[in-house]
Symmetry: C2
Subunit: 400 residues, 2 copies
């Protein structure tokens, strides 16, 4: 009788959710399949398709000429081969441990793998996740059997923008009942991202849970902001509804987010048990978030004792856009003065990143002044793979 009830509910759930696949036991092909030798097989059922390719960052990149820009590295592609209606591709060699994203291209149309429910949205594109384990860094991205922090979606009121805006806040395991005060890392996303980027693609909560459990990082609060000042929240999560997300939002990299930032600090210090002083604060960000971190830390030199620039969008900025960008050198001198100098100024960049030269130039400027910083150079370019690695390298160095 119990089985019959469960069966009936499952059938009904199948109807309600159009989950015929779920109803009859899950996927119609196993994809992706990580084989014993760590090669990976992708499968796609499409008896009538003419061509099926897979594209993803597990494949070598290919050069593409972009008009008015030059040569860009674009994701590689591989052809699937059809047999009995099932298209299949197995990597010729083992795939190195990493968290990858991939999609299929079916008769020219990019689409996700219908047999893989694990996906990430990145701006207006959704792709599937492929996780290959096997080394210490990649293990940090896994949910492990360690104490877990809490992740909250919480809204603050911006008086300056007259709107409520959403934050993602990680509080470490034990926060709720410890009565202790914690230091705070403000962690900023890149262009097109939002307050969910570090939580999803960035695996920030898994990285922090694991590093804290290993005793390598101090228990800390991590505040993941939304740096697109005209947005309330990630696409679909604000009162604008289910609109099509786009890049290049208005009021991005024009000084408002940086100018308003003390509102966020004040909200966090009021709402959470924080070490509400410079020693208890860090700021770091990737790409545009690195740009924001740089300008915020030098605009408010008494606020952050640890600064992390991950593949930062460093470049000449025009003080006519915002006074935040004015007096760059002078503000840098103030930030690195004896009184204000951060305990850690951290720069990380991939050696094929299109921002590598901008970061090298900036380092030369710091070197010329004798301003100390920690530098971490990796292979690769402007990619999440590097940003997760930088976060895992940066967080053990702060709040010591």
């Amino acid at each position: 009788m119990k089985k019959l009830i469960i069966c009936a509910i499952m059938l009904a759930a199948g109807v309600s959710s159009y989950a015929q696949q779920a109803l009859f036991g899950g996927a119609n092909a196993k994809s992706p399949e990580i084989n014993a030798d760590k090669t990976v097989t992708f499968r796609f059922v499409a008896p009538k398709a003419i061509s099926v390719k897979v594209t993803g960052d597990f494949l070598p990149t290919r050069k593409v000429e972009v008009p008015n820009f030059g040569s860009m590295e674009m994701p590689g592609q591989a052809d699937l081969v059809e047999k009995d209606g099932v298209w299949e591709y197995t990597t010729p060699t083992p795939v190195a441990p990493e968290m990858y994203t991939y999609s299929f291209i079916v008769d020219g149309q990019t689409m996700v793998d219908p047999n893989n429910v694990y996906m990430n949205r990145d701006v207006s594109t959704v792709s599937n996740l492929l996780y290959v384990d096997g080394n210490e860094v990649v293990d940090l991205y896994k949910v492990q059997d360690v104490p877990h922090g809490t992740v909250s979606k919480i809204w603050y009121h911006s008086a300056k923008e007259n709107m409520d805006r959403r934050l993602t806040v990680y509080t470490p395991a034990g926060y709720e009942t410890s009565g202790k005060k914690y230091p705070v890392l403000y962690l900023l996303h890149g262009i097109g991202g939002d307050e969910e980027a570090w939580y999803t693609q960035g695996r920030s909560t898994q990285i922090l849970d694991n590093l804290i459990a290993q005793g390598k990082a101090k228990p800390m609060i991590v505040v993941m902001t939304n740096g697109n000042i005209s947005m309330e929240a990630a696409p679909g999560e604000g009162s604008e509804g289910l609109t099509v997300p786009t890049m290049g939002l208005p009021k991005t990299m024009e000084g408002t987010f940086e100018t308003d930032f003390p509102e966020i600090i004040s909200f966090i210090d009021k709402t959470f048990r924080t070490q509400a002083n410079k020693k208890g604060r860090a700021i770091a960000g990737l790409s545009m978030g690195g740009f924001h971190s740089l300008h915020i830390s030098k605009q408010y030199p008494d606020k952050f004792n640890y600064v992390g620039l991950f593949s930062a969008a460093i470049g000449v900025t025009d003080p006519k856009i915002s006074p935040i960008y004015g007096d760059f050198d002078k503000k840098l001198d103030i930030l690195f003065s004896k009184k204000n100098r951060p305990a850690l100024f951290y720069i990380a960049c991939g050696n094929t990143d299109f921002l590598f030269k901008a970061n090298s130039d900036f380092r030369a400027q710091l070197d010329a002044k004798g301003y100390p910083y920690k530098y971490y150079e990796t292979d690769g370019g402007h990619i999440w793979r590097n940003w997760r690695k930088y976060l895992a390298d940066f967080t053990p160095r702060i709040f010591k």
Copy 2:
């Protein structure tokens, strides 16, 4: 210069995320498009496809014969028509206000709409969201410009199962700084669901934000549990990693979740500012969650003053499976005794639900005993559309 930097970051982000679509300004077709007359147009770019259909709960259902079960209502389908490589379908009549899900079927293969980033996972199937506004109930599902509560993913330790398990907890706007104690609604999902179901498909946080802002519901904490006792958390969120989710999990509807439930209450009362008594507690659930709510409320008759059964999986249960299911009538008598009788015992069901008869039989049992309950009957079957409606109807009635 600023424009060039932004452009370069966008290009690079495009490379990093394989977001070529995003890179060149978003989608390659507008889909879904809600037209001025509230008809909806779906589009799919596939010049080489032979057939493209759309399926979803905005279409009339169709009857399908299921072996050993009988006739089932299955989702409707409609054909898209191709012109210049773009397949298109427009509904012949306006689509009624609702939050729908849909997918495409391309040459027989079910897949999501590549131009719509809004999706829900339901067990092992992912489908797209279509939101058509236009009435008061459906407005409750929207993020509106009202004070927003906080949604937390928080882990408790189950001593009985020797594992950490995840909960989704909604705390109402103002919770963090009010110093007040709040009543708690425990809100349970159906089979195949998890602690994310009421938060995603259920729109529970939007419904609560809006009803509280309108003064219709009391500010309350809502605890969304994971009723699959062998799981730590929703698929992909626990230490088992990115495995293929399936229905019919072990240790579901066999008494353990119900037996262990006081562990969750105790964790919540220790961790949040709750009204930690019967008057301050409600329990409600859909389908399997209604079954759980029924058995938990009568097993612990001193714990819940409000009980909600939404399309509940009511049926004969075998005490040999668990003592929780034994002495059904006697426990019901105790629950409805003068000492324990809940202030509200609420039953809701759709009139085409396959569980309609089971719920009618149960109501007849209550009627025969003279046990009072509130009954809400709607059109339709075993679907989220009804469960959202029941939540919006139930929550204003509790904690009065």
